[in-house]
C-alpha cells in the first residue's frame, strides 16, 4: 500500500494535478455553499461555458499568430461575465435563470465554431471540454495556491457576513451590510476557480465541483458551519479518491471525480433519510 503511494507521488505531473485539483476543489466547495443556497448554482455552469468559449478564442487567436496564453484571454473575460451575470440576476430573479442559459449556450456555440474554423476540434479543444491532468503547469500550482489563500481568508474573516448575506440578503442590507460587495467577491472568486479548475476537470464538469459537495453536506448537517466544513472536507476527499481511481483504472480524471462525488452524495442522502426516520421512531 505504502509502495503504491510512494510510486503514485513520485510522478511530478501527478503531484501537480493533485495539488491544483485539491485546492480548486476546496475553493469550489466553499464558494458552492453560498451559491447553492442562494439558488445560484447555475452560475458555475454559465461561467464554465463562457470559459470554454473564451479559451477557444484564445487558442484561435494563437493559431492566427498572436502569441497569447489562452488563460490570459479567458480569465479576464470570464470575470467580466461573472459580474454581468450577477448584475442580471440582481435585477430580476426570473430573468436570471434564462440569462445564464442564454450566455451559457451562446458561449459554447461560439466556442465550437471558433474551434472548428481555426484549429478544428483537436486535442486541445477536447481537453478543455473534458479536462486533462497533464494540463497543469508550475504556474497553475502557484495560481491555485494564491486563489485558495484568498478564498480561505475570505471565508474565515468574513464568514459571518457571508452567512448573513446568504441566509437573508434583505436583512443584511437593511442592517447596513454592503451585500453587493460580498456577492461580487464570491462571483469573482468563482470565476477564477472555474478558469483554473476547468483545465483539469473540463468545462463541462467543473460546475459539479461547485454544486455536489454543498448538496451532499446539506443532506446530513443542520447548521451552517458544519455544512461549510463538511463540504470542504468532502470535496477534497472525493477529488483525491477520484484521481486515485482514475490512475488505477485508466478512467478520465475529471469524470471520475464527479462520479465519486455522486456516489458520496447518494450515500449521504441515504444517511440523512435514515437519521430522520430514526429520530421519529
Amino acid at each position: 500500500m505504502l509502495d503504491f503511494f510512494q510510486e503514485f507521488f513520485s510522478y511530478t505531473f501527478i503531484v501537480r494535478a493533485v495539488i491544483v485539483g485539491s485546492l480548486v476543489a476546496l475553493c469550489a466547495a466553499l464558494l458552492g455553499v453560498s451559491l447553492v443556497l442562494k439558488r445560484f448554482s447555475m452560475i458555475g455552469d454559465g461561467l464554465s461555458h463562457v470559459g470554454f468559449g473564451t479559451i477557444t478564442l484564445g487558442i484561435g487567436l494563437n493559431a492566427l499568430g498572436l502569441n497569447l496564453a489562452p488563460l490570459s484571454v479567458s480569465l479576464p473575460l470570464v470575470i467580466i461575465a461573472a459580474f454581468l451575470l450577477l448584475r442580471i440576476s440582481e435585477n430580476s430573479k426570473i430573468k436570471g435563470d434564462a440569462a445564464i442559459a442564454l450566455i451559457s449556450g451562446s458561449s459554447l456555440a461560439i466556442g465550437v465554431i471558433i474551434a472548428a474554423k481555426t484549429t478544428g476540434m483537436n486535442t486541445d479543444v477536447c481537453n478543455y471540454m473534458f479536462g486533462s491532468i497533464l494540463a497543469m503547469k508550475k504556474d497553475d500550482v502557484y495560481l491555485s495556491i494564491a486563489l485558495s489563500v484568498v478564498v480561505l481568508i475570505l471565508f474565515i474573516l468574513f464568514y459571518h457576513k457571508i452567512f448573513a448575506v446568504t441566509f437573508d440578503e434583505a436583512f443584511a442590507r437593511a442592517t447596513g451590510t454592503k451585500a453587493g460587495i460580498y456577492n461580487m467577491l464570491v462571483a469573482l472568486l468563482t470565476a477564477v476557480t472555474i478558469v483554473i479548475g476547468m483545465r483539469m476537470m473540463g468545462a463541462l464538469l467543473i460546475s459539479s465541483l461547485i454544486i455536489f459537495p454543498a448538496l451532499t453536506a446539506m443532506r446530513v448537517c443542520k447548521s451552517f458551519r458544519p455544512v461549510t466544513i463538511l463540504s470542504a472536507i468532502l470535496s477534497v476527499t472525493c477529488f483525491f479518491t477520484g484521481m486515485l481511481l482514475s490512475f488505477l483504472y485508466s478512467t478520465p480524471a475529471g469524470a471520475s471525480v464527479v462520479v465519486v462525488n455522486l456516489i458520496v452524495f447518494c450515500l449521504f442522502s441515504l444517511l440523512g433519510k435514515i437519521r430522520k426516520s430514526g429520530a421519529t421512531i
Binding site: A174, G176, S223
Partner: protein, 235 residues
Amino acid sequence: MTLLTCDKLSVSYNRITALKNVSFHVDDGDYLCIVGENGSGKSTLIKAILQLIGTESGTITLNGIRQTEIGYLPQQTVVQKDFPASVFEVVLSGCLNRKGRNPFYGKAEKALALEKLAELGIATLKNKSYRDLSGGQQQRVLLARALCATRKLIVLDEPVTGLDPLVTTELYATIKELNGKQGIAVIMVSHDIQGVLESANKILHVNVEPVFFGSPSDYLNTSVGQRMTGGTTHA
C-alpha cells in the same frame, strides 16, 4: 423623541410611481401600522425606510438611531425555509453590525442572542435546525434576530402571513409586549388590520399617495378606515 421622520417621500422604479409625497413620523415607543390594498406601495415604503431602494425625492431622517440599529423582519423567502442553519446561528446574525471590526462574535453578542431567545420563549430551540421549525417558530426566531440588531425600533413586513390564527394571536401578543414593556417602537406592514387595531397607536394608510395618518380611532371614523375594517366597528 422622534425616531424616524419621512417627509414628502416619493419613490418610483421601472418608470412606475410607487409612492408619492408620503409624510409621517414615528416617535419613541410608537406602534405604527401601515395598511393599504395590494400594490399600494406598503412594501416599497418599508424598503425605502431601510435604504434597500433609492428614493426619487423627499427625505427620510433618523434621529437617535443609526441605520445599523433598526431591526427588520422581512417576508420569508423560499430559500430560507429550507436553509441549513441552527436557530442560534440565525439569531446571532442579527448582531452582525454590532461587533464592529472584529470578524468574530464576542461573548457580549452571544449573550445577547441567548437573552433574546429567552425573551421570546424559544430558548429550547437554540440548537435546532431552522428548517425543522414550524412557521410560527421560524417567525419568532427571525424576530429574535431583529431584536439583536436594535434596542429602539423594529420594522416588520407582513409578519403573520401564512400563520394559523392561534399562532398569529400569540405573535401579536409578543410584539405588543415588546412595544409596551420594552418601549421598542414598531412599524408593521399588515393586511390584517383587525389584529393590530388594539395595539397600534398610529395608522398610516397609503395608496401610492398618503390617504391617512393618525390615530386608530380617527382612522375608524374615515370612510376608507371603515371599508378596511369591514363596516363600522367598535374601537
